[in-house]
Symmetry: C2
Subunit: 351 residues, 2 copies
Amino acid sequence: MNDSAVEASSKETSKQGLPRLADVAAHAGVSSKTVSRVVNNEANVRPQVRAQVLRSVAALGYRPNAAARALVTQRTHQIGLIATASSLYGPTAGLFSLEQAAWKAGYGLTLTTVQEASEAQLGEAIHYLMVRGVEGVIVSGVAGVLHLGTSTLADMPLVSTSPITTESAKHVLVDSDQVAGTRAAVRHLYNSGHRLIAHLAGPLGWDSAARRRDGWRLELEDLGLHPGPLLEGDWSPRSGYEAALTLDRTAATAIVVANDHMAMGAIRAFTEKGLHIPDDMSVVGFDDVPEAAYQIVPLTTVRQDFSSVAERSVHELIQLIEGRPAEETCIHLPTELIVRASTARCFGNPN
Amino acid sequence: MNDSAVEASSKETSKQGLPRLADVAAHAGVSSKTVSRVVNNEANVRPQVRAQVLRSVAALGYRPNAAARALVTQRTHQIGLIATASSLYGPTAGLFSLEQAAWKAGYGLTLTTVQEASEAQLGEAIHYLMVRGVEGVIVSGVAGVLHLGTSTLADMPLVSTSPITTESAKHVLVDSDQVAGTRAAVRHLYNSGHRLIAHLAGPLGWDSAARRRDGWRLELEDLGLHPGPLLEGDWSPRSGYEAALTLDRTAATAIVVANDHMAMGAIRAFTEKGLHIPDDMSVVGFDDVPEAAYQIVPLTTVRQDFSSVAERSVHELIQLIEGRPAEETCIHLPTELIVRASTARCFGNPN
DNA sequence: TCTACTTGATCGCGCTGCCCG
DNA sequence: ACGGGCAGCGCGATCAAGTAG
């Protein structure tokens, strides 16, 4: 049997039926303050007493009441997460890492969603979370640049994957290095002989989409090349398919796509048009979703490390919450180019 | 000593710097109880007074303190979500629907994760959530059958996508009708002339995987057919790829795969072995992930309506929380077979 | 006696429920 | 019909009191 059995014995009371500090104290024959000391791992309790209290805690299945504790300490150890309501791979991939990192650090996660990154919706979301007592906020996978007007909002520790206009020492950006990601993709294509390199961007209202486009353009310029056609999708496979259908086959020999799912749609479209991947068209995705490696044409892509972003976000946020100022306010984590079979040497340009 | 009465006419105080009920009361020139009435929309407040209080609330930017309120009312309007830590499409797809449904109903969502569906981990997770004051729990995307031993756990309103052994009027199952899903897939293949129909299952420790396998087997039996080979993966594209590699090409002309991502891996494997999809092998997936329609061979699959499952789950949970007993304890929502290009008529069996 | 350690009584966090005028 | 006083939810903090060396 379980020695820490959670069996409700007969005596203790509480409106919820859960045992309280006082019940443990009575059971252990000490004062409630002593129980509090033990529960909070304070010093200056005799090992004997501590052990006895611990035994009573286990016997009664006592758990401290978070509301009461929050009321008196003014601390909730809760983090709020604001996400855009969508099942995009990127935003959801880091979610559980976020929760686990928070959990390890002793924080809980309260989730809320917004439709768009307007100041109004963001403000509403943050207030919603403040009412619930969160001590900091992570904004993940939200479209644009964040504007936070009022002082109470600016005072809230906040980590975001999008840049924030508000001047505040309590705001930090943590994200993959999008620019470096598409730069690497372009360089890979260039080294394979491609000179006409298109880009299929995500919705350019999203900061991450804009930054991926910038990386593509910047690298091309550094290479002395003119940017190829620029298309725009909405992250969905369908939009990738539709955008790729509009691409003139003579306009590019390769395309950098802003995420894997649009890349899959694009490959489907190219295939329908009779182009062979990669011989007639090289395609690079972004994200490295799990199925990317197992497409009929395994996808060359830029891998993002979503867990690292999540863990770093939680880490930085907790620093902020606990009053340590951020050392860097913009943290870009590396991406990695994964070369598979959707890119090939371009023989049109034997370089 | 402390003339705490009327110090705060226009200078609100509180440890967090946030205004309290008493500050609003002072500002509006009423008692704090009256402010409480207004904030909680209680009756018996003159419109004039109500308006004045509302004005003060707005002027001070007052938001009620959730911890204090929870402490006294024993209600938090928080729902806990227990999920398995993984970025599987299914579990995450319904997540934001869950949050939005909860939000609409006036509840917040607290997230936690478990590694496996053991009683110990689940009990731990539920306790973690109880401490945080959740009034009900949704268990989503967790592997096996749930065993909840102790009485405090059995008393917690709980909605799950997995069956629960515990006898409790407060536990409800809401999920897609997995059995009907794979049954429909098998029937579709049968109607296309297939007689050798294999199954690539998810990890059979997962209840949903077991139920999908059952549907496959049951339909086959109803059709008077022997079940074809049964393979098992772990939901990942890689596992689908590896499992499909082991399938003897004479053993089946079609395969029902327990999710789309394994189906993609399987298609990749078949393609490598020189089989053409769908001519040499028909493949049916499960889920209808967004990219399924945009594969080079668009995937025939069984669509699950994750938002409906999520919304229904929240609905049922709130019924339970508010003391209305469940009318049904097992709710299965319909799935839909989406026929695309990965299945074709089997000419080996001209039927 | 003094110091170091250990324990307990009392109060109040911000809010709502009860009961009163 | 309307508004206010007061108690107390469960916990941690303060400070005083107790025990041993």
